[in-house]
């Protein structure tokens, strides 16, 4: 490709006009108090879009039991292998349920494959993003924690209902 250099006059080649122009632009931004975009985080929060992928949660079905059938598809697809499921038999109709369901949030990359692959829509990535801790072991969420997070309304736009506590 042929680059055509602009013909600069002597005055322009001293850099001064461009420098002054740049300086004027930056200076003109200082008094624009109204346009400041800083979000003062702990007090003011970002309105999360509905499809935001935060920490995973497990859903509770209408019958009061976890929806997960322990098919282990999420465990299988999880790229960083953050999910660990131990299955057990159950007398319920679904026949299998997770005895243990751990997600290591130190590993999770929030890709959402688990949500994508789940046949019973039991695992969802939700709007929680404050998971910092001083201890890595606290970042391994077990089944109870995941289920407890799942009970937090509001849930999904248009899908709030199934989340409610069982009657």
């Amino acid at each position: 490709m042929k680059v055509t250099r602009p013909k600069l006059s002597w005055w322009e080649r001293t850099y001064f006009p461009a420098i002054l122009k740049g300086l004027a632009i930056t200076l003109s931004h200082i008094p624009k108090i109204k346009k400041r975009v800083t979000l003062e985080y702990p007090e003011v929060r970002w309105a999360l879009p509905p499809q935001y992928r935060g920490a995973p949660i497990l859903l509770t079905g209408l019958d009061g039991n976890e929806k997960c059938t322990s098919c282990k598809l999420c465990e299988f697809i999880c790229p960083p292998r953050a999910i660990r499921i131990v299955a057990e038999e159950t007398s319920l109709e679904k026949e299998k349920r997770p005895k243990e369901f751990d997600i290591d949030m130190g590993l999770c990359i929030f890709c959402g494959y688990c949500q994508e692959v789940c046949p019973v829509e039991a695992i969802w990535l939700k709007d929680e993003y404050e998971m910092a801790d001083y201890d890595r072991t606290n970042l391994i969420f077990n089944k109870e924690q995941l289920l407890a997070r799942g009970r937090k309304p509001p849930y999904l736009p248009g899908r709030e209902k199934p989340l409610e506590e069982p009657k």
Partner: protein
């Protein structure tokens, strides 16, 4: 209070005051840097520590103090530990010769507002000390045992050496014009009489050369190649952490304050204001007012430093050297010759 104590005690008090003022200035320049940059980018800047973030420098200081002090395995330890001191020390002792006001009279004694008032070689002293500030950069970069640091150090050293010529020649033309190396005389030559104007008007060429060179000398953008983050991590202070890094940081900002004071003294009339005479305010308040005016001018210069930093992109290294040696240096020589010719033909106006 006789004999030597009459000299030592006021000098000591002045040193304490100046160190306090400069250190506070350094701290708040860092805050100003962050605030102004934020405003220019439509952000708010630090506002958590104290009202409007005014305690932010204190918080930074505490953080620096408690950070872990790491010495890399490959570092050459004695020099690695010495280098930050060699950066901060010259930055601070330059203030010995900078007069920061006229004089104050307390209890019948008149004290000139400078740590070394009788120094009539102030400019040479300042050039001598600033020529030694290279050591900190060079040794820090070399002793870290990291290639980024070494690159930064070599860049820094060659840049500082190259631009010192421009500074020296620009200053020399002022010296030639006024016929003195004394800051007080140069300041006195810029105000207080018919036809005496601040030197940035008659010596505009020298002013431009000096200002551009001083940006390079203090390693500020657009000439911050020794520490260009996007190319060589942090340059010569890549490997430093904690209090030692803080020393580099303070040294850099103290250098900025010195450079601003230098510009103000040489080109902007020092502590004088047009049409204002400090004798009107009496010996004490006049002196204090002159000090306030001087520091305000320095503050304006510091703002310009920050303003330029957040506006202009970094030069490429060959561009930097071209600018230094092929533009500014001939310009400075030309200016020197012009001043000399004028003095030869017309004498002092």
């Amino acid at each position: 209070m006789t004999g030597i104590w009459a000299i030592v005690i006021p000098a000591f008090v002045k040193i304490l005051v100046i160190i306090a003022v400069v250190m506070t200035g350094v701290a708040y320049t860092t805050l100003a840097e962050r605030k102004v940059s934020a405003w220019m980018q439509d952000r708010k800047g630090p506002n958590r520590a104290g009202p409007f973030g005014l305690l932010q420098p204190v918080a930074d200081g505490i953080k620096f103090f408690f950070k872990e002090d790491i010495t890399p395995k490959e570092a050459y330890r004695p020099i690695y530990l010495l280098a930050p001191l060699l950066t901060l020390f010259p930055a601070l002792i330059t203030f010995a010769v900078i007069p920061f006001g006229t004089s104050v009279t307390v209890a019948g004694q008149t004290y000139p507002l400078a740590i070394a008032p009788g120094m009539n070689l102030g400019i040479v002293y300042l050039l001598a000390i600033s020529s030694m500030s290279v050591y900190g950069i060079l040794l820090a970069g070399w002793s870290s045992g990291s290639k980024y640091s070494l690159m930064g150090a070599l860049r820094g050293a060659s840049q500082v050496i190259s631009y010192e010529l421009g500074i020296g020649l620009a200053v020399l033309s002022i010296v030639l014009w006024t016929g003195t190396f004394d800051f007080n005389a140069i300041v006195a030559d810029q105000t207080g009489g018919w036809g005496k104007v601040w030197f940035f008007i008659p010596h505009f060429l020298a002013f431009v050369v000096f200002t551009v060179s001083i940006f390079a000398e203090t390693n500020r953008l657009p000439f911050d190649l020794p520490e260009g983050e996007s190319e060589i991590v942090g340059g010569y202070h890549t490997e430093y952490s904690g209090l030692r890094f803080a020393m580099f940081f303070m040294g850099e900002y103290a250098n900025m304050i010195t450079a601003s004071a230098f510009v103000v003294l040489l080109f902007f009339g020092g502590w004088n204001l047009p049409f204002v005479r400090y004798e009107w305010f009496g010996p004490l308040w006049g002196g204090l007012l002159s000090m306030v005016v001087f520091f305000s001018k320095i503050a304006v210069c510091l703002f310009i430093f920050i303003w330029v930093r957040w506006t202009l992109p970094r030069f490429r290294y060959d561009q930097l050297m071209t600018l230094g040696w092929r533009r500014l240096f001939p310009l400075a020589v030309l200016n020197f010759v012009l001043v000399a010719t004028w003095l030869l033909l017309r004498g002092r106006p």
